[in-house]
Amino acid sequence: MVLELEYDRSLLGKEHQAGPFEVTEELVRSFCSAIGETNPLYTDKDAARKAGYQSVLAPPTLCPIFIRGESIPDIKLKFGKLRFHAGQMVKPLAPILAGDTLMASSHLKEVYPKTGRSGTMVFIVWETTFTNQRGDKVAEVQESYATRE
């Protein structure tokens, strides 16, 4: 039997803009401190400059911290009670440096059911592209949320 999913289909492919997000040295430092990152390219401006960068680099998984409720609205899915974050993808496309300003553009990519041993779950997939102040694409992020009955 095919599961007919009820949700706000008008969100499919529709871009939602969020930002600007300032990538400050302080933000990079705090992020590194929380995860125990000690790579000098992320923590030491002189080391980053020696490597040819104007400022410290942001770790490659920094961007997802900017994705919040305002950039990915509720799709009003009528299925399940329990929702959890099931998957996460990041594709860094260009260096992000302290001092950069990022914008995010997110869209609902797909919603699909999957049935396994524990029953049926519905997956909601959002895709976000980050661009910097020059309009360069710097990262793509995909987030999957699963809902189960």
Partner: protein, 145 residues
């Protein structure tokens, strides 16, 4: 820098990367929530909030687990550049020590880049494998700098 410098020619299919051991503390998760702008207490920092969400205890945010897993590669070889990291979360990651490791499954040249593809996972002693996925990193090539 943490690790030695690896080049494309140094890596073979089946090679293991890591393990990287990380002790995930309550303080580190609280600090991450602050950076993220997620108000506390929440299911990541509070036992009561976690129980409300039917979780066994406070968990580690998915994006924090991802950041820890990406470190496997930057710690292993400072000249490795992460190109793609795609993770599936099989179980909640709780505030306990974890082991992160990877196995090389493919290598190829693509658009002038020397890419190494890996299966990557995070596990802990109590629950086994918590997170699995694929990573692609690029490495410099001594033969074609």
């Amino acid at each position: 820098m943490q690790g030695k410098l690896y080049y494309y020619g140094d890596v073979e299919l089946g090679d293991e990367i890591g393990p990287l051991k990380k002790d995930i503390t309550d303080e580190a998760v609280a600090a991450f929530c602050k950076v993220w702008g997620n108000p506390t207490p929440n299911r990541f920092t509070s036992d009561a909030e976690a129980k409300k969400a039917r979780l066994p205890g406070p968990i580690v945010p998915v994006i924090m687990s991802m950041a820890l897993m990406a470190q496997l590669f930057t710690h292993w070889s400072p000249n490795a550049s992460l190109k793609h990291l795609d993770l599936v979360f099989r179980q909640p990651v709780t505030h306990k020590p974890v082991v992160i490791a990877a196995v090389v499954t493919d290598k190829r040249e693509e658009n002038g880049e020397y890419l190494v593809e890996c299966d990557v996972y995070m596990s802990n002693e109590e629950s086994g494998r918590l997170v699995g996925g694929k990573a692609i990193i690029s490495l410099p090539n001594r033969q074609n700098p």
